[in-house]
């Protein structure tokens, strides 16, 4: 399937292994990525905090660019925060024709216009809803046997439920568990799996921010997870890059590897850890994979 692909900023900045692994995984899943190079940052909720109309207009521009990609079935992102921040803007744009026209009048200078009703799905949603768990299972080349994986969603992709379309038919807040199982791994449930990583307040209240990251990592460790997997690069920054500092704040050794979603999928599809950028993490995922034999799982 062809998708208008929005990689976001951080996946090309401080977590390049996310964008890189997505590019590796896509052809194996028969996803054609048409990258939205011209689009700007979603604003991560902060532009909306500053000026709602500005955030709505910038994201309407991104949506309009996505709608111009010929033959694309939908827009796909690889970031929980993009999903949530863009979804919030889209909710306002779709709800009110007058407001939409108002925003489009700003885009008209560039000859762009957003037409109501874009489908914008995170890679996680696309995996479950467009590709399907059964098909995914049949594609697994290296089942994640013996690998105990803790899901970490990121707030923006699980709340608010109504805006994100989470209901009995679309249990999007349980997709990571379903996916881990489909890839042959074991799901580890722990207290922090749908909580906040703390990243949004890292510059405002560093101690509270790192306490959040440290607690969730510690909870996962206590539940005997080998690693976490997250669809959110901002969570990855606080959980992986800041983990050594989080260890100091919570006063315990954590050493918990955190994988990006496409990395976990890529491993199961048979890609090599190096080409998925697993060596680029601050916490080396030694518990995830034996680097010499490429065998997955701590017990392997």
């Amino acid at each position: 399937m062809k998708v208008a692909y929005w990689p976001g900023c951080v996946s090309r900045g401080f977590t390049p292994e996310l964008h890189g692994s997505m590019a590796r995984v896509a052809p194996l899943l028969d996803i054609e990525l048409v990258q939205l190079d011209r689009a700007s940052c979603c604003g991560a909720g902060v532009i909306a905090e500053h000026n709602q109309e500005l955030a709505d207009t910038l994201n309407a521009r991104t949506f309009a660019l996505a709608q111009q990609v010929e033959g694309a079935e939908l827009m796909m992102n690889i970031c929980s925060t993009c999903q949530g921040a863009q979804g919030e803007c889209q909710e306002r744009l779709d709800a009110n024709a007058e407001y939409r026209a108002h925003v489009n009048s700003t885009l008209a200078d560039e000859g762009l216009a957003y037409e109501k009703g874009l489908t914008n799905k995170n890679f996680l949603w696309l995996l479950i809803e467009e590709i399907g768990l059964e098909k995914l299972k049949s594609m697994v080349r290296r089942p994640l046997r013996n690998l105990k994986v803790g899901p970490f969603y990121g707030c923006y992709i699980v709340r608010p439920r109504s805006r994100l379309g989470i209901d009995a038919e679309h249990p999007r807040d349980h997709y990571l568990e379903q996916l881990i199982e489909a890839l042959g791994g074991t799901v580890i449930e722990y207290a922090g799996m749908r909580k906040c990583c703390g990243f949004p307040i890292i510059t405002m209240n560093k101690d509270a921010s790192l306490k959040q990251a440290g607690r969730h990592l510690g909870d996962a460790l206590d539940a005997e997870a080998d690693c976490l997997v997250t669809p959110c690069p901002l969570c990855h920054l606080n959980l992986d890059m800041q983990q050594p500092l989080a260890e100091k704040v919570v006063g315990r050794e954590l050493n918990m590897p955190v994988l990006h979603l496409p990395q976990l999928v890529g491993l199961a599809l048979g890609l090599e850890p190096k080409e998925l950028g697993l060596s680029r993490h601050v916490v080396r995922p030694t518990s995830v994979i034996d680097w010499s034999t490429s065998v997955v799982g701590a017990a392997a």
């Binding site: 900023c9 951080v10 090309r12 900045g13 401080f14 390049p16 011209r38 689009a39 700007s40 940052c41 991560a44 902060v46 532009i47 500053h50 000026n51 709602q52 109309e53 500005l54 207009t57 910038l58 521009r61 709608q67 111009q68 990609v69 079935e73 709800a95 009110n96 024709a97 007058e98 939409r100 026209a101 108002h102 489009n104 009048s105 700003t106 200078d109 560039e110 957003y114 009703g117 874009l118 489908t119 707030c155 923006y156 709340r159 608010p160 009995a168 909580k195 906040c196 703390g198 949004p200 307040i201 510059t203 405002m204 209240n205 509270a208 959040q212 607690r215 050594p244 993490h281 601050v282």
Partner: protein
């Protein structure tokens, strides 16, 4: 909607029991009750109390989702016991048994009763929850725009049940955080045109390290609220007014953090992560990194940065120069900034007030868009 003609069914409630005065540890207590499925979890608890164990502690009064007394956690999620149907609660349970616990972030007095005074009400008192009249006080009533009062009705809808306080993730790690309910209440007065202390209130809430910039933007309170108050949305509005209208440059980096992201996206189209930290601490310009506050923070983050570069997590080029979108797109983005920010007033669409178009639920098909020529003329 629950149907009302269904005959009574059996429901099992698993309640968290705890009496701090007993010296015993908390425990789970199960009772099976019989009621029509549309009846509330509260009615179930009251039946269990009447039939099996009179010592079950639950606080309630109106039983109609108005008084806010019966806030509890049902199957791990905060809500009103009187506002949750038994059949819905059973459907959302893990194993068919409805689990009822006291709310979080507050000490338990007994069973499902928590100490609202010690946490919730103390925090509400903290934000001066009354109107400070604008002077001079008119002889008769104040005259205000209808719209300006509609704007605060959302925060006025709060029934003080504490559901948002219960699940606030910032409060979980920082109990001193003023929190969603009290800050929504603060907006009720900041947004009220009759109040005289908008700036003083915002200064206070911005400078407090556990004020508006301690919120992690996790949406927990948005989902918890049974009255659609959207406390997090009210906190964002407080931040917006504090920064954009009152130009409060708080000691918590809150305003500088916001300005930094807004400016970086204007200048680069994308986030330049390496500039975020120094500018948030030292000031929103390239020179921010030379400010002593930034220097101290940069120094403490140096090991993190070095580790990142060593692991090739970020390239030195990205760390120094960031990444940009193509030139013509960047100029289009800048034009959007100029046009939107150049307006004399911010245009905010509040769906709580405006509602949705009748057909808003219908999803259009995805395809190449032409123009919005068929849409009505824009008006601000």
């Amino acid at each position: 909607m629950a149907e009302t003609h269904k005959p009574p069914e059996r429901f099992t409630l698993r309640m968290r029991r705890y009496d701090p005065e007993s010296g015993e540890a908390p425990y789970w207590d199960e009772h099976t009750i019989e009621l029509e499925p549309h009846r509330s979890v509260l009615e179930g608890i009251l039946q269990a109390k009447a039939k099996f164990d009179g010592s079950i502690g639950i606080r309630c009064s109106c039983r109609a989702a108005i008084c806010g007394s019966c806030g509890v956690r049902i199957n791990g999620e905060p809500g009103l016991a009187c506002h949750t149907h038994l059949d819905h609660a059973k459907a959302s349970s893990k194993d068919g048994v409805i689990e009822v616990e006291p709310m979080g972030n507050m000490p338990v007095i007994k069973d499902m009763i928590v100490d609202m005074d010690a946490v919730h009400w103390k925090k509400v008192q903290r934000v001066t929850p009354w109107l400070i009249n604008k002077q001079p006080i008119p002889e008769r009533e104040y005259l205000v725009d209808r719209e300006s009062m509609v704007d605060v009705t959302q925060s006025m809808a709060c029934i003080q049940c504490g559901a948002c306080v219960s699940d606030c993730l910032a409060m979980e790690v920082d109990p001193g955080f003023i929190g969603p309910a009290a800050l929504a209440k603060a907006y009720r007065f900041v947004g009220d045109p009759r109040d005289d202390e908008e700036r003083e209130r915002l200064l206070d809430l911005s400078e407090d390290p556990q004020g508006i910039f301690d919120c992690t933007h996790c949406f927990k309170c948005v989902d918890a609220c049974p009255k659609d108050v959207n406390p997090m949305g009210q906190i964002m509005r407080l931040r917006r007014i504090a920064g954009a209208d009152q130009h409060i440059n708080d000691q918590n980096n809150g305003h500088r953090h916001e300005e930094t992201i807004v400016t970086l996206i204007k200048d680069y189209g994308l986030l330049h992560e390496a500039e975020m930290l120094p500018r948030s601490y030292g000031g929103n310009s390239w020179f921010g990194k030379f400010h002593p506050a930034a220097g101290k923070e940069l120094l403490s983050s140096l090991p993190v940065a070095i580790r990142g570069v060593m692991k090739r997590k970020m390239s030195i080029k990205i760390a120094l120069f960031g990444h940009k979108i193509p030139k013509q797109d960047l100029s289009a983005v800048k034009k959007i900034y100029e046009k939107v920010e150049g307006k004399p007033e911010r245009y905010e669409l509040n769906l709580y007030v405006s509602g949705e178009d009748e057909d808003a639920g219908t999803l259009a098909t995805v395809g190449a868009s032409e123009t919005a020529a068929d849409a009505p003329e824009a008006s601000a």
